[in-house]
Amino acid sequence: MFHSRTVEIWVGLFVAIGFAALFMLAMQVSNLSTVTGDDGYEVTARFENISGLKVRSAVTMAGVKIGKVSDINFDPQTFEAVVSLRIDSRYNEIPTDTSASIFTAGLLGEKYIGLEAGGEEELLLAGDELELTQSSLILEQLIGQFLFSKAADGDDE
């Protein structure tokens, strides 16, 4: 029916295309290309409220993703959330007085942590804690405050 050589060439082509598609899915579609292995170093930060932040949320600096949230715990003594940030090891020159804030991507988007560098000479090492933190804004509280202040303004007049 077919020459054996033609058949084999087609099968070879099929297998090659199949693996190329898998490779493309792994490299181009998934997060493999943005993950630089498991190295990197971990620092912690304490927040009063992290509402909506999740493990694997992004950690950014100047809008560039430099790491991810690796763990979230609750400290029963201080009633604070303890968030571990794993930062890629190539970004190892971050000052110790860097501040961490929880932001929202877009109005209703997901939460991420934005770092803002300070001016200290000393650099952040593995296991350090970021002292300056700002909790996430909670939309309901904001609206509540806004309505409250509106109502207070109305009373004055």
Binding site: E8, W10, F19, A21, L22, V29, T34
Partner: protein, 271 residues
């Protein structure tokens, strides 16, 4: 005898007998199917010396299915791009189109649709081929010559099916992502960088892509097993072969859809 015929219990007993026969037949087939699977799997190591048989089956099962997989992958991806865009643009979230298209394809549509197409394209032809071999007594002829038809005929086809479907599903997903890119970025004006970067940010290699591949391997096993079994177990007449072919497509499709729910619940249920 005549006394028995007039007993009021007779219709009930007849009905019970039918039910019993049906159940026994069902379990008999189930048992034969599993025995056959066992024999096929135990015949696979022997194929290392008859690699040519598998290559030829890879051609007829895999290569010949390429066209339908590529074309439907492209169109499914394009439709996803269009529909996703129309929905997402209402929320101003059309940048997430890449994530939407990629996750839908990699997790669900890639494995499932290619398994359904595979059942229709390759499964039916496997059943018809094996069924005809049985009807024309080629299989018994082989047995006469002390060639085991399960190892010689069924095992290469089974192995080729199991190897082909994951590759076909990967091709389907990759082409679909391109199709979504074509419609979303080139035609509807979603940002090129956002399409890929949002996709890369949200699609996880382990959680999404590996699980999709595992799904398609399971579907490959189930579809090829059903196809091969129906052919081997069919009534050796032209009507029997045609019935077996129909059953292959119906049962394989139902099994794929049912298993997909189970696998999805196991893989993504907690997340």
């Amino acid at each position: 005898m005549s006394e028995k015929k007039h007993s009021p219990l007779t219709p009930l007993l007849d009905w019970l007998q039918q039910l019993g026969r049906f159940c026994l037949g069902f379990f008999e087939r189930l048992g034969r199917g599993h025995l056959l699977l066992f024999h096929i799997v135990s015949g696979i190591p022997g194929l290392a010396f008859k690699w040519r048989l598998v290559v030829f089956q890879l051609y007829s099962v895999g290569v010949l299915s390429l066209l339908i997989i590529v074309v439907s992958g492209l169109f499914v991806g394009m439709v996803l791009g269009l529909q996703g865009y129309n929905t997402l643009v209402d929320f101003g979230a059309e940048e997430s189109l890449g994530t939407f298209v990629a996750l839908t394809l990699v997790r669900e549509l890639g494995p499932v649709v290619s398994a359904l197409l595979f059942a229709g394209r390759a499964g039916s032809s496997l059943t018809a081929e094996i069924g005809l071999m049985k009807a024309t007594e080629q299989l018994s002829g082989m047995e006469m010559m002390a060639v085991n038809p399960v190892k010689r005929i069924l095992a290469p086809r089974f192995l080729a099916g199991v190897l082909s479907l994951p590759l076909l599903a990967a091709i389907f997903s990759a082409i679909g992502v391109m199709g979504g890119y074509f419609v979303g970025v080139d035609l509807l004006g979603v940002d090129d960088g956002a399409y890929w970067s949002q996709m890369q940010a949200k699609v996880d290699l382990h959680d999404d892509i590996y699980n999709g591949v595992i799904k398609s391997i399971v579907f490959g096993i189930v579809v090829t097993w059903i196809a091969v079994f129906e052919g081997y177990d069919c009534t050796p007449t032209s009507e029997g072969v045609s019935r077996a072919t129909t059953r292959t497509v119906v049962h394989a499709s139902l099994a794929v859809l049912g298993l997909d729910f189970v696998l999805t619940a196991l893989m993504f249920g907690e997340g």
